[in-house]
């Protein structure tokens, strides 16, 4: 039996929603970061699903780009988190709020 497109899209939407909820509610920067990755991967899933459904390679190619960017982003992001921790001894996002009025 084949899995329908709807299932893929549904799973992807659920994953995306979990990611958004995580980004909005969690305090730990690492967790927020992981949630962002989750959102990216849910988008990847959508791309792949449509690519297979339409018999078109473009979506899959795009996924590689997204993964490459995500890897780079992870490297930069984690480096920022480490630098931040060294300076402030915290990764709690509520306490990192000096960029305001």
């Amino acid at each position: 039996m084949t899995i329908s497109l709807h299932s893929y899209l549904g799973l992807s939407a659920i994953l995306f929603a979990i990611g958004v909820a995580g980004v909005l509610t969690r305090r730990n920067v690492i967790v927020v970061f992981m949630c962002i990755e989750l959102m990216l991967n849910s988008v990847n899933l959508t791309l792949i699903a449509y690519s297979a459904f339409l018999g078109e390679i473009t979506g899959q190619v795009l996924v590689f780009f997204v993964m490459a960017v995500a890897a780079a982003e992870a490297a930069v992001g984690l480096a920022i988190v480490i630098a931040l921790f060294r300076n402030r001894q915290t990764v709690n996002i509520d306490e990192i709020n000096i960029l305001k009025w």
């Binding site: 958004v20 909005l24 996002i93 709020n97 000096i98 960029l99 305001k100 009025w101």
Partner: protein, 643 residues
Amino acid sequence: MAYQLVGYAVFLPLAGFLFNGLLGRALKSEKLVGWIGSATVGAGFVIACMIFFQMLGSPPGERSHIVAVFPWITAGSLSVGFSYQVDQLSVLMMLIVTGVGFLIHVYSIGYMHGDRGFWRFFTYMNLFIFAMLNLVMADNFLLLFLGWEGVGLCSYLLIGFWYEKKFEKGTTADAAKKAFIVNRVGDFGFLIGMFLIFETFGSLSFQSVFAQASMLPTGSSVIFWVTLALFFGATGKSAQIPLFVWLPDAMAGPTPVSALIHAATMVTAGVYMVARCSILFVLAPATMEIVAIVGAVTALFAASIGLVQNDIKKVLAYSTISQLGYMFLGLGVGAFAAGVFHVLTHAFFKALLFLASGAVIHALHEEQDIRKMGGLREHLPVTYRTFLIGAIAIAGIPPLAGFFSKDEILWRAFSSGHWALWLVGFAGAGLTAFYMFRLVSLTFDGERRWRADAHPHEASATMTVPLIILAMLSVIGGFVGIPASLGGGNSIEHWLEPVFERANDKLTLLPHSVEPAEYILMGLSVAIALGGIMLARSWYLRRKEIPERIEAQKPAWYMVLLNKYYVDEIYDAAIVTPTIKGSEVLLWKIIDVRVIDWLVNAVAKALAAVSRAARLVQTGVAQNYVFVFLLGVVAVLGWLIAK
């Protein structure tokens, strides 16, 4: 084709200006700077001579040419280029500007020797020649205006050349500012005239405007306003009533500047412009009357002030204003050629008088007060003789240059029916002779009144040779315009005839008949000139108690003349002070502070107040931003779906 060289004549002084301006300071060689400055002008003179002789050799109908050097502005129907009109009038002006200009440049090498701004002086002088040549050679109003403004700028720079030097109540920089601002008032008139011309004729080139104008009937109102505006411009540049006040102050500049710019060339620009636009002016008889009246009144008015001034250059300055008045009188009565003839002769003798006075000032270590001179004839023999020749020439004693040109103007004024103007000019001629010989007597004759340690001695050859050349020209310069009544051919009038042909067609001129009245008037003016000379000689040499008594008693007329009819004071009270006070009280303290500043501050304060509330959005918590971002995405998606 010598005509094609005209571009070089104009642009060589510009090259000299750039060379001296950029390198002059580093060169530290007065010889190089001075001779390059002079050579560029001298080359212009050589080219002018070549053009002149080629013109002489061609038939009168083929003497006028237009030489286009390069296009300048093209916009819609307007097309203006650096094009030069080479014709009888402009080549004559070119000869005057480059010829007299060259002599004065050479003279300046001696006069400015040792000045720390030597290179700056020659830079400005070359720029002046460039601008002046553009003015007289232009074939359109805009290029003429470029030159017009350029000479005004150079005049400003050179009046304030010694910008730290005290002059009257302020410094020479104040005199320069006054000259510039008064000229701007006149320039405004010129601009209005130029706009009106473009509006009426759709072109700015002389050829097209004058060709169209000659089709118009006499006395149309637009031509009246055009010519009036142009003449107002001329009163500024040529120091006529009501805008003459800057010229006496312009004497603050170095003396060669007074000779070149404020006597021989720049101040005659107004005369040249009116002569060039002769066809426009004859179409407006009302303006012609105004020109003639302003000229005649200025001639007498300035001459009367010159009677009592004690600064040698001030006397010459008022004399210049007065002589310019004669030129305008000539133009106003339709004697365009006579007016231009007087420009020519005046350039010779007035440049000579100024340069000679410069030699006197130089010899007495910057002393300009004639009450502290006297008895200089043995010490400065060359200067004395040349000055005397200039004085006789300007006084109008035949056969020197001034007699022919001034008499031609006076005769034409009389013969065209303006006998009242003739009388004014005639009286002015007597005053001219008087003040010139008052100057000669007080400067060169009588007892010595200068400081014992002055040791005046004759200047170097670079200064005396130009004096001698100009003196010779002042003697023979008039012979180009000997009237028919004295058996001459009046060749200058015939030379200029094609230029003024259109204008003369419109004027109903009397035929050139020799009348006994002409001889009578000639005799009268020679008599009054001789009378003025004798009176001045007797008052200031033999019967000194008369002028001394006048000076001591201070009668009302003497004080009025000494204070120049209080014109400066009247302008101060009527225009300058109200402008300053009005600017201070109304424009500054009310409009600027209370309105403009208030508005600007109010805008800033309103922005600050709004921002103070709006900046609270920036919480600094990243998740708040993400939340707002998410709301935005939801809203956009919702809108897309609902659509």
